[in-house]
Subunit: 100 residues, 4 copies
């Protein structure tokens, strides 16, 4: 199980606000309901699932600003993939809190 | 006002678990209580404040694994700095939710 | 045409050196000879091509440390995707140098 | 000795091209001539030196688009800091090539 942390920056918007693109991206997840878990943070969107499916979601999210007429998109992705034990968003937070 | 999203990876730990380092990093924030706002997510730590202070915190966090004997650290930082209006973690989330 | 900038960090190696994994990753590209252009920098590997193929390569590269027995891998990816004009590694560098 | 890999994205430019900002950033390095080593790649700028100085350079580079009237800047930084042996850009590349 892996967690992907993704942020998509539309370039050439003409305005500093990008929240309309981020909102549109959240709608992509309705399509994947029940197949991936996701969470919006103030800096990115976190997605939990298996790598092949997560990369499919990444590709779809990356396309969103293009569909809205943007000509350049810079996407940044962090993958945390652990295979010796269950690697969920909930468990990772718990593991840190247990040590505080 | 800027937001920094930071993740610190100790290299050469001998074990896949890194939560003890993440917990230690959370303790750094006690020192900055009231000067920076911070939030732990399953993938990183978010910090809100002015850039010079945030980079001071970044440097201190980056040192944590070295203090625990690690010889190599890979740190990844995203900065979101907006100067035409108040750019807080709370406001960014709200701005997306208003558009859903 | 897009450019992907990828760095793969094996976690739990027991040693700070990771060059054997980076070397193994370079071998993955032999398989994609003629289909993607790639370049090794001191900090990452750059790959040029179309997004679906690049994400296929990303997935394969990300698997390399697992094949060598590592249990956790942290991969970081930046995608620069521009669709109003040809976006190649060579052209990007040239475009900056023209302005110096 | 550490290596920093930095990319600065101006948000709200009105055009997909950002090379004028990247060119301006290269000029910042003239000021640090002899104190940091740097290298432009098609995806980012690499800087080699000690962490406190590198973070000073990071802050200065991050300011460049604001000085040109941009209201929001997204900066992405990777730090690779190794303290058991000399960690230079040249040596890292050599270490991979020796294993090919």
């Amino acid at each position: 199980m892996a967690i992907v942390d993704i942020t998509v920056i539309p370039v050439g918007t003409g305005t500093p606000s990008v929240s309309e693109y981020v909102a549109e991206i959240q709608r992509v997840f309705h399509k994947y309901e029940g197949r991936v878990k996701y969470q919006l943070t103030p800096m990115s969107t976190l997605i939990e699932g298996d790598i092949p499916l997560l990369l499919e979601v990444v590709q779809e999210i990356h396309e969103v600003p293009f569909q809205k007429g943007i000509k350049r998109v810079c996407t940044n992705i962090r993958i945390d993939d652990r295979r010796d034990k269950e690697n969920t968003m909930e468990r990772k937070l718990q593991s840190v809190q247990d040590k505080l």
